[in-house]
Symmetry: C2
């Protein structure tokens, strides 16, 4: 049976970037459908993700898989013959899942506060954001990638932030290079992979999008 793979996505989404990268790592051909999240969600999106009504949604042979981290795991399991993403060793696997969960629960939540707040709240968010990145930087250590020598699961979960860093720097008023240079080097290393560079938008475009959102939410 010919595989039908559709990705419902929205270009600035770090979550959608994860799924795109995983598909590209596995060399899976897929149809990319851009959603208009702000003005007009498609009937297909509402039908395929009735609980959250959010992108990214991966539709594989008509069946939806929701939540980007779960999508990456699913892609790794289905197309297991090429570029394994998660370790097979149960302990290493649990560690990878732990850091993915940390990025989801802590960094994503705090990152939103960096561009959605002002004054003292923004100061606290900036401080926490940098602390969280430093924890991740310590975990990376002197390895090339989070899993060791090979680009893998945790790299995919985190790398979407790389194209958002200039926006965080601009609105949070800090310098990633001076705060987290090791993480920036890791980001540049990841960007040498086609799967990553072809999935991440231009950081200037992300800044423009955040400016648009700040106006929309009355934050400017």
């Amino acid at each position: 049976m010919a595989e039908e793979v559709i990705l419902l996505n929205f270009w600035p989404s770090m979550f959608g970037m994860r799924t795109m990268i995983a598909l590209k790592e596995k060399e899976v051909k897929y149809e990319h459908r851009e959603e208009d999240l702000i003005n007009n969600k498609s009937a297909l999106l509402l039908d395929m993700n009735p609980i959250y009504k959010k992108i990214p949604v991966l539709i594989h042979n008509g069946k939806p898989i929701c939540e980007s981290v779960i999508q990456v795991e699913y892609i790794d399991q289905i197309w297991s013959d090429k570029n394994p993403l998660l370790p097979t060793d149960p302990y290493q696997r649990a560690q990878a899942l732990f850091w993915a969960d940390f990025i989801e629960k802590k960094l994503c939540v705090c990152g939103r506060r960096v561009w959605r707040t002002k004054g003292e709240e923004l100061k606290a968010a900036n401080k926490e954001f940098i602390e969280l990145l430093k924890i991740l930087q310590t975990e990376l250590g002197d390895k090339s990638y989070f899993g060791g020598d090979k680009f893998g699961f945790v790299d995919i979960v985190l790398i979407g932030f790389y194209c958002w860093f200039p926006a965080y720097e601009k609105f949070g008023n800090f310098s990633m290079e001076s705060e987290c240079s090791v993480l920036m080097t890791w980001g540049k290393r990841c960007m040498q992979r086609d799967s990553v560079s072809k999935s991440l938008p231009d950081p200037e475009r992300v800044i423009g999008y955040v400016l648009y959102l700040k106006k929309l939410f009355g934050l400017e």
Copy 2:
């Protein structure tokens, strides 16, 4: 090599209950160490979970695994010969992970608001809590367990709420039986398993604990 399995836990934790149930389902012998979370966390806990400093921590042959959902997956992978908990089919597996994530992200967060808030905030939390339970009830449908005929992963992730329901009812002023009778029947069914009934504390004791916390936080 003899297996050394230690669980750092605190009895009212729904998260710790998940790990206990998974270990019991696999008939793994383990040492249970109760932590004094409020007054005196052990040096072992701080050493084994330096990021969150929280229970439950599963220590297997000296190595820590943190976060209960990840622990259940780990236990399922290590002791794979008995009572499989997660489906092997990638799509079914993705669905199970989706509902576990829903319980983590939505129900656990909202549940906390039911006993930590007052007035209008409490009313909104109650309403959302019941809506979330009804979504889970719809997903359960007329199946015996979330995965079908067999007790499994999503049941383990959710069942800890069962011994907290009387506390939610008391502080949220609603009736689980009239709001979510199908879920209550499922809870009773799960309680017939030794792994569950031996892991969940007496609901009256949970009510006492919540009363204690409310006083501690100045909510009474």
